[in-house]
């Protein structure tokens, strides 16, 4: 089955969703991310959804769940890059993302995470798929 790659940069995990996810792929990403947070003791998670041209209630719930699970595991999650049309639609649909941190783009998302969790003492960047 397809998987969405998770990149690790020090104590941050970065996910860029570039495909229109079917439901099982979205669920698998939620599980993979939660597992990775615990495995590498990540402090922050950045989920880039700028390529998504829709977010329905299923994907919205996946984003909310992932944020909640990250928090329980001692990490902060930020969803970045939501397109304006997607944001308008989500609000009208009634999806509640009040527990989810959001930022305009990856740069602002990283900044937000750094402000919340601080900077790592050393940089042990490695990329894993």
């Amino acid at each position: 089955m397809d998987r969405i790659p998770i990149l690790r940069m020090g104590d941050l995990l970065l996910v860029t969703i570039q495909v229109d996810m079917h439901d099982r792929l979205a669920s698998a990403l939620q599980d993979d991310l939660t597992g990775q947070i615990a495995e590498v003791s990540a402090k922050g998670v950045l989920i880039d959804i700028s390529s998504l041209d829709i977010v329905d209630s299923f994907i919205g719930r996946m984003l909310a769940n992932t944020s909640a699970m990250a928090r329980v595991l001692g990490a902060e999650a930020v969803v970045v890059g939501m397109q304006p049309a997607v944001a308008i639609t989500l609000v009208e649909l009634g999806v509640n993302l009040s527990g989810v941190h959001t930022a305009l783009d990856v740069e602002k998302g990283v900044e937000m995470l750094r402000n919340r969790i601080g900077f790592p003492e050393r940089d042990d960047t490695d990329v894993r798929f």
Binding site: D20, D53, I54, D56, R61, I88, V95
Partner: protein, 132 residues
């Protein structure tokens, strides 16, 4: 106008196929980006409902022309158990499944026209329309 397209929804990934087909037709009649996003999202919710509660069904897309207006209409037809209480099913937060209970009510808010017919044991027909 005789522009019809039918998509069979039998497995979870067919919901993605429905989204793409609705997007294609919405672009064809030049809906604004926000309106495209709304009807694609509504269709995604309704296709998922059909898959989860009725085990699948059929989506038919239809392009409309009325006076000078263009519209996109989508029919979601299933032969599932039907919805016993439609008013209750349309209420936000009500679900008999594992979702958030936003599918029907949420989809209704995203379109210009919404109708639903359901017969116990026979199935459900939901129709949505978005006008340009």
């Amino acid at each position: 106008m005789s522009d019809f397209e039918t998509i069979l929804v039998a497995e979870a990934k067919d919901i993605v196929t429905v989204r793409h087909a609705v997007r294609r037709q919405a672009v064809k009649i030049k809906l604004s980006l926000v309106d495209q996003t709304k009807i694609v999202t509504a269709a995604s919710e309704l296709a998922r409902n059909m898959f989860v509660y009725a085990g699948g069904g059929e989506v038919t897309l239809e392009l409309l022309e009325k006076d000078v207006r263009h519209g996109l209409r989508a029919h979601f037809v299933d032969k599932g158990p039907g919805i016993p209480d439609i008013d209750l099913a349309l209420r936000d937060g009500f679900t008999t499944g594992s979702g958030m209970g936003l599918g029907l009510g949420g989809a209704k808010r995203l379109v210009n026209e919404f109708s639903i017919e359901s017969a116990s044991g026979k199935g459900t027909h939901v129709m949505i329309t978005r006008w340009r």
